[in-house]
Amino acid sequence: MSLFLEFSLVGLASGGIYVLAALSFVIVFKATNVFNFATGEMMMLGAYLFFFFDRQLGMGWAGGLVLALVAAALVAMLTERIVLRPLVGRPHIVLVMVTFGVASVFRGIAGLIWGPNNQQLTELLPRTPLFLGDVLIPGKLAWGFVAAGVVAALFIAYYRFSRAGTAIRATSTDQVTAESLGINIGFVFLLSWGLAGVLAATSGILAGSVNGVTPQLGLVALNVLAVVMLGGLTSVGGVVIGGLVIGWLETIVGAYLGAAWQSFIPYLVVLLVMFVRPTGLFGENRVQRI
């Protein structure tokens, strides 16, 4: 029983990283209606940027972290400006397909610059394990969860209470009305991609500081989509819960059934959720049916 409790806590902790990536995904989807399949690659690129500034340019972890987040935001904003802006108004299927192209380019660039091997990032998080009673949680995971929680909370607060956050929410409710009320839609798109870049990079850096980073990190992170579908595409609160559930599920499944099942179970859950409740647990009823 205490073993189960331990796995559960470890799982919830690793779900924290998913929550950040899922938030990155949701903010882009809410503001711009783009289903961003490149979210995982934005995580991966963020981790590499941290590696680049911190290790390769020798700026130390603090400077490297700040520069990596800024660079990740810039890359995301450039992507919006160069790739997605010209496609505004085109059908959904085009917008989705183009993010596959973006993902592929990011993966290729990372492979070209940093090679296929795993690169170890500076360990940002203390190793010392945490004890809750007689349950042990690895230090990196615990502190990673705390860090993810803080960033997520900051983001949600910004999203709820700031002017820009309100503009994003207005845009996601009704683009035309928002525009006619004087909200600069182009700015909102850029801002939401920039925020998404920062969130994804944070998530990637946290994930990378536990396991290192390879160009394939983005593909692994597609599990994030399971999180998003579970929580509901449009619900910020939903993806937080979805992230924790998927993280928990993966760890439990990995512990009791073996690692191979880990990449399978989240998708099984997604399929089941979609059969029963296509909007996810907390999503708006935006799904059209026929």
Partner: protein
Amino acid sequence: MSEQATAIDRAPAPSGAAAARKVETVSWVLLALAIAGLPFFGSVYTLYMACLIGINVIATVGLNITVGYTGLLSVGHSAFLGVGAYVSALMWLHLDTPLALNIVGGAVAAFLVGIVFGLPALRIKGVYLAIATLAAQYMLYFVFQQWTPVTGGDRGLSLPKIDVFGLGDDGFYYVVAGVAFVTTLAARNLFRTRVGRSFIAVREKDYASEVLGINVVATKLVAFGLGAAYAGAAGALLAVFLRIVNPDQFTLQVSIFFLAAVVVGGRASILGSILGALFMTLMPEFLRFGLETAAGPGADLAGLLSPLREIIFGALIIGFLIFEPRGLVGLLRRAFGQVEEIDANSEH
């Protein structure tokens, strides 16, 4: 655009369209001749590439039926290739059935599996269905990899060498070419039938076509299954061609390869599927050749090749979607002076 327009318009065709029809017929005949004559002057390498292109054409046509014509985004296409490959290989190994039956078996199996994963389309549409196909990709990969007693796990299945018509490699090439030609022609004619037209109608406005008496749900399922069946046939041929079936042939990247072929060739165009598959299959070869020429002999390019491939894949998808939504077919039509307006609203 013009392909559907000529198919849908019942008005007397203007002379330009009649000429285009004639050009089309002539190009199909030329294509058939070129396919039939290739073994007489092609090297072993040419024949190898031709087989690969043929297989990829079948799979790309299938994906184009689902994505291009019906507007259902599928990002799990390679998993359906896998279903076809495994089923046909197992039929061959355990039942010793002839090749033709194996191909049909692979296609039918992929059709059924495709229908199952298309079922979410009953309730959802758009990007949600894309996620369902992503789930198909991961779940089928998992089955291929983990069901070791049947699929051989990571090591996969090894197949004996096949000799069709006693012609050796030429014989198998003719099989691939024949299947590719027939399936492609069938797909082209499909869109002149009621079923094929209903695919396009559903893509354009599904509720409107429901009102017109088209069973939208059934149409989507059939379109989805049909695309998967094409993939299954391609997978069955791939298994015989490579003589090995293992899970790593059917990853998400391979699905993206086919998606890229559809986008680059031209969505909702059979000629586009052929061009796209041709271009995307040859591109890595050109890339390798170009790099080797540029770097000189002995250079280690393995590390460069695969990232460059990914960048070019992605750039082609992005570039065509932004600048030439009609794909290579659009470029071709423009080169031959067929002016067409690109209307974002009529696009899918």
